[in-house]
């Protein structure tokens, strides 16, 4: 799933710099990246590159894991056996995506435990979108359609990101992601073609998830000072605003095709640009959610912390058992 380089509005926007590094190595590194080559775990890389990647990849991983919660909320209440099975498969995929990404981040020298600790303490972020509640079944449709849709737009170009393990994880993820979006859209289609209550449920979900989905693409380009460096290093392939515009252009016709209306009075096709004009995002809301004040942010973190803490005895038991077996094997 998607995440951005999430920064507090008030944080200093200084680029990530470190102590003096070998300028020859840096030049060679920049040349390789510019030539579309891949950087692998053992290669030399600037500290800033490593740090940015660890943050970006781990936040992406956290997003997948936290993302299991709003959808997991509806597995037991899915309204048909098929929907239940598909949702289980999707959430399982999301867990898997989190695993691929944690694995990629670990190649950069951070451990899973460190990353989890960062998430639970609030130092590490996850995609803002998962701080919103799934109150109806239609929300599950909206998430698949809009949130996975947004994720796909971000992830497809990242298949050629410069860091090898991240690129390979993205290739795997992209193969699996389009099923997620189609699953969600199909739910919306069924609701839109259903009873008045179902239509209402679908429209209501779109009303609540539209703007948070636009916020997934992060702050406007003018407030993203690290974009230039990230683009040069191929950690970011397109800018926030570029992707956001693409999302709007692609998604509005999909809404129209099923008779739903996007909750934006300023939405209008601009013939000259060949794109949709759309309204201003509520940036106060965006930054509040980034700060950890989203509607169900507390619930999400609490759930993850509780799962981790209440599972400590299980992890310990597995370690203890493995040690006993190893000991016994050595003694033979």
């Amino acid at each position: 799933m998607y995440t951005t380089e999430l920064k507090d509005k008030n944080q200093k926007s200084a680029p990530v710099t470190t102590v003096a590094e070998d300028t020859v190595k840096l030049a060679a590194f920049e040349a390789r990246v510019a030539a579309d080559d891949f950087i692998e775990p053992k290669d030399w890389m600037p500290e800033a590159y490593r740090k940015t990647l660890v943050r970006q990849i781990s936040q992406h991983a956290h997003s997948e894991i936290v993302g299991m919660l709003p959808e997991g909320n509806w597995i037991t209440r899915a309204p048909s056996l098929r929907r239940k099975a598909v949702l289980l498969a999707k959430v399982q995929d999301e867990g898997g995506h989190g695993l691929y990404l944690y694995a990629a981040a670990e190649t950069l020298g951070t451990s899973r435990d460190e990353m989890i600790e960062a998430l639970h303490s609030g130092r590490a972020k996850y995609s803002t979108i998962f701080n919103y509640p799934t109150l109806t079944w239609a929300d599950i449709g909206a998430i698949g359609w809009l949130v996975d849709g947004a994720a796909i737009l971000n992830q497809v170009p990242l298949q050629r990101t410069s860091y090898g393990p991240y690129a390979r994880a993205m290739v795997r993820i992209c193969k699996e992601e389009s099923f997620h979006q189609r699953q969600g859209y199909e739910i919306m289609m069924a609701l839109s073609a259903g009873s008045p209550e179902q239509k209402r449920m679908a429209q209501n979900a779109l009303d609540r998830w539209w703007w948070p989905s636009l916020m997934m693409f992060g702050p406007p380009d003018e407030n993203s000072p690290n974009t230039a460096q990230s683009v040069r290093w191929r950690i970011k392939r397109e800018t926030n605003d570029e992707l956001r515009q693409k999302f709007v252009d692609v998604t509005v016709p999909q809404a129209e095709a099923i008779g739903l209306s996007v909750p934006d009075p300023k939405l209008a096709w601009n013939e000259a640009r060949g794109s949709y004009d759309f309204g201003e995002i509520d940036w106060d809301e965006f930054y509040a959610v980034v700060r950890g004040e989203g509607p169900v942010a507390k619930e999400r973190v609490k759930a993850r912390v509780e799962a981790w803490e209440s599972g400590a005895w299980v992890r310990e038991a597995a370690n203890a058992h493995a040690a006993k077996r190893a000991h016994r094997a050595a003694a033979e």
């Binding site: 692998e40 775990p41 053992k42 098929r82 099975a85 598909v86 498969a89 399982q92 995929d93 898997g96 695993l99 691929y100 694995a103 990629a104 670990e106 451990s111 899973r112 435990d113 600790e117 849709g149 393990p165 390979r168 994880a169 795997r172 193969k175 699996e176 389009s178 099923f179 979006q181 189609r182 699953q183 859209y185 199909e186 289609m189 692609v250 016709p253 999909q254 095709a257 400590a312 992890r315 310990e316 597995a318 370690n319 058992h321 493995a322 077996r325």
Partner: protein, 94 residues
């Protein structure tokens, strides 16, 4: 904090005749759990006939290695594939 489960690298052979590919890693406390975690994570879409897991600490080479272990994938989860869903022709980009 509990001691972390060790990290294992996972290698999958997609089908006989092909080489094993390094696909990522999992955390597991022991080798049996590592195989199962690898299977549950990396072969959900019939991607493998063969799985190897190796403790990351044992890996010496800097390039992806080779390996294999047998596993039977489930062949019926066709709803994971985009083609399972019917989306009308007039709806684009999905």
């Amino acid at each position: 904090m509990t001691k972390e489960w060790p990290l294992w690298e996972v290698f999958v052979r997609a089908k006989n005749g092909l080489a094993h590919k390094h696909v990522g890693s999992v955390h597991a406390a022991d080798d049996r759990m590592a195989i199962e975690a690898a299977r549950d994570t990396y072969t959900r879409r019939m991607e493998g006939v063969s799985l190897w897991v190796v403790r990351s600490a044992e890996i010496v080479a800097s390039d992806p290695g080779e390996g294999a272990a047998l596993f039977e994938p489930a062949a019926d989860k066709v709803y994971r594939h985009p083609t399972f869903y019917s989306i009308p022709e007039n709806v684009k980009n999905i």
